[in-house]
C-alpha cells in the first residue's frame, strides 16, 4: 500500500478531469499529508488547475492533514470519503475550511455516485 503511488494516481485523475481543472484553475495551494502512524509526510500541490504530488515535508503548506496511513490511502483512492474519518475525529485538518471542503468536493467528483 504505497501512499505516494496512490497520491500520484489521485493527481492524475484530477488532471484528466476537465471540470476539476476548471474548478481548480485559481486554486494555488500546497497540502501536506502526515501519516501519523508511520511518521511519513507527503504533499499535493495545486497550481493553475494542475495537481502534482510528492513525498517529504511541505514546510509552507497552507493545509495540513494528518491521519493514519490506511485512512489517507483509503481517502485518496476513493474507498472512503473524508467526511467519515473527519466526523469521527480520525482525520485532523489545519487550514482554511474552504480548502478542506474543496478537497472533499474533488474526491466526490472523482468517485461520487
Amino acid at each position: 500500500m504505497d501512499l505516494l503511488a496512490t497520491l500520484e494516481t489521485f493527481a492524475e485523475q484530477c488532471n484528466q478531469n476537465q471540470r476539476l481543472r476548471k474548478m481548480n484553475r485559481d486554486w494555488t495551494r500546497l497540502v501536506e499529508l502526515w501519516a501519523t502512524d508511520t511518521d511519513q509526510r507527503y504533499w499535493l500541490k495545486s497550481e493553475a488547475g494542475w495537481i502534482t504530488s510528492g513525498s517529504g515535508e511541505a514546510m509552507d503548506a497552507e493545509l495540513k492533514i494528518s491521519a493514519r496511513h490506511d485512512i489517507l490511502h483509503d481517502i485518496f483512492s476513493g474507498v472512503i470519503t473524508p467526511t467519515e474519518p473527519y466526523n469521527a475525529g480520525d482525520l485532523l485538518v489545519k487550514g482554511r475550511q474552504d480548502d478542506m471542503m474543496r478537497l472533499d468536493i474533488i474526491t466526490l467528483l472523482i468517485w461520487g455516485e
Partner: protein, 298 residues
C-alpha cells in the same frame, strides 16, 4: 389560539412575534434565534415539544429536495428528532411548490421575462425555483459551489446541477452544518475578500438565499431584481440604497418582515395537522398562499 415557534440558527437580532388570522384560525407566530448554537436549538425544541402546535426549523434545511431525491442534513435531523409530540418542519414542503409558482406568476405578470439572466446564489436548497427558471428558458447561473465552497465554478445547466447534487449531496449533508451555511453572527458579516462580483454584475435577477446574497453582494446592484425571502425592512432599505430595482419576497411580508418558508410551513401544519407527506398538502399550500398574500397586501 394556535402557537407556532420558529427556532432559528440565525441571529437573535431578527427575533419577532406576530399574531395573524389564517384559514379561519388565529395563530401566534414567534421566531427565536439561537445565534448558531445547535445545542441551544436542540434544548429549545425539547422545551417547546408538546407545548406549541408546530415548530419551524429556521436557518437550516432538513431536506434538500432535488429531481425526485430527498437528502437529509444530519444536524437538522438531530434537531427535528428532539421533538416527539409537536411536528417540526423546515420549509422544504413549501419550497418545492410555492417557489415554483412564484417564478410562473412573475413571468406571467411580465415582472420578469426569459430574456433576463438569473444568478441563483444557491440552487440545491431551492431546486423548485431553479427548475422553474430553467424550464421557462431563463439563462441561470447556479452559484452553489461559488458561494458555499468558494470554488469559482458556475453551474449553468439543470442537468449539471442535478449531476453535481447527486455526487455531492449524499456526503455534504453529513458535514457539520456550520461548514455548509452561515449561521449566527456569520449571517451579519459581509465577506471581506469578495472575488465573485462578476456574477452579480452579469445577472438581471438575483435569486435565492438572502444570507448568501448579503454576504457576497457588491456595493452597487443597479437595476437588479432580487427574489428572496426572510428580509426585514432594514434589509430592503439597504438593497434599495444599492440601486436595486425591486425586491420580491417569495413569502408574504407581514408586520414588516417576510416570513421564512419554515414559518409558513409550520403555520400550515399547526392549522391543518398536515405536512408535506400528506395528501391534500399542495391544495392547502395553494389556498394559504392566496390568503397570506392578501393579508400581506392589506
Amino acid at each position: 389560539m394556535k402557537h407556532v415557534v420558529s427556532v432559528s440558527l440565525g441571529t437573535d437580532q431578527r427575533d419577532h412575534q406576530v399574531t395573524l388570522s389564517l384559514l379561519g384560525q388565529t395563530v401566534m407566530v414567534e421566531r427565536r434565534g439561537v445565534n448558531g448554537d445547535l445545542e441551544r436549538a436542540e434544548s429549545l425544541i425539547r422545551t417547546l415539544d408538546g407545548s406549541v402546535d408546530a415548530i419551524g426549523l429556521g436557518g437550516i434545511d432538513r431536506y434538500l429536495v432535488m429531481a425526485g431525491k430527498r437528502y437529509e442534513i444530519a444536524d437538522a435531523r438531530r434537531l427535528a428528532l428532539s421533538a416527539h409530540r409537536t411536528p417540526v418542519v423546515d420549509g422544504s414542503g413549501l419550497k418545492d411548490t410555492w417557489e415554483r409558482w412564484i417564478v410562473e406568476d412573475l413571468t406571467q405578470s411580465q415582472v420578469i421575462s426569459p430574456s433576463m439572466s438569473v444568478l441563483m446564489v444557491s440552487a440545491m436548497d431551492r431546486f423548485g425555483m431553479a427548475e422553474a427558471f430553467y424550464q421557462r428558458g431563463y439563462p441561470v447561473v447556479a452559484g452553489d459551489l461559488i458561494f458555499a465552497s468558494r470554488i469559482n465554478y458556475p453551474i449553468v445547466t439543470r442537468e449539471e446541477l442535478i449531476e453535481l447534487g447527486r455526487k455531492l449531496l449524499p456526503e455534504m449533508v453529513k458535514l457539520p452544518f456550520w461548514q455548509l451555511y452561515p449561521t449566527g453572527a456569520q449571517q451579519l458579516e459581509a465577506v471581506p475578500e469578495n472575488h465573485y462580483e462578476e456574477y452579480f454584475d452579469a445577472a438581471d435577477i438575483i435569486a435565492g438565499d438572502f444570507h448568501f446574497i448579503k454576504r457576497y453582494m457588491p456595493l452597487r446592484l443597479d437595476d437588479k431584481l432580487i427574489l428572496t425571502n426572510t428580509t426585514t425592512d432594514a434589509d430592503r432599505a439597504m438593497l434599495r440604497s444599492r440601486g436595486v430595482r425591486d425586491v420580491v419576497t417569495t413569502t408574504p411580508v407581514i408586520d414588516g418582515r417576510s416570513f421564512g418558508t419554515n414559518v409558513v410551513e409550520a403555520l400550515l401544519a399547526a392549522i391543518s395537522g398536515l405536512t408535506q407527506d400528506h395528501d391534500g398538502w399542495t391544495e392547502l399550500v395553494a389556498k394559504a398562499r392566496h390568503e397570506l398574500f392578501k393579508l400581506s397586501a392589506s
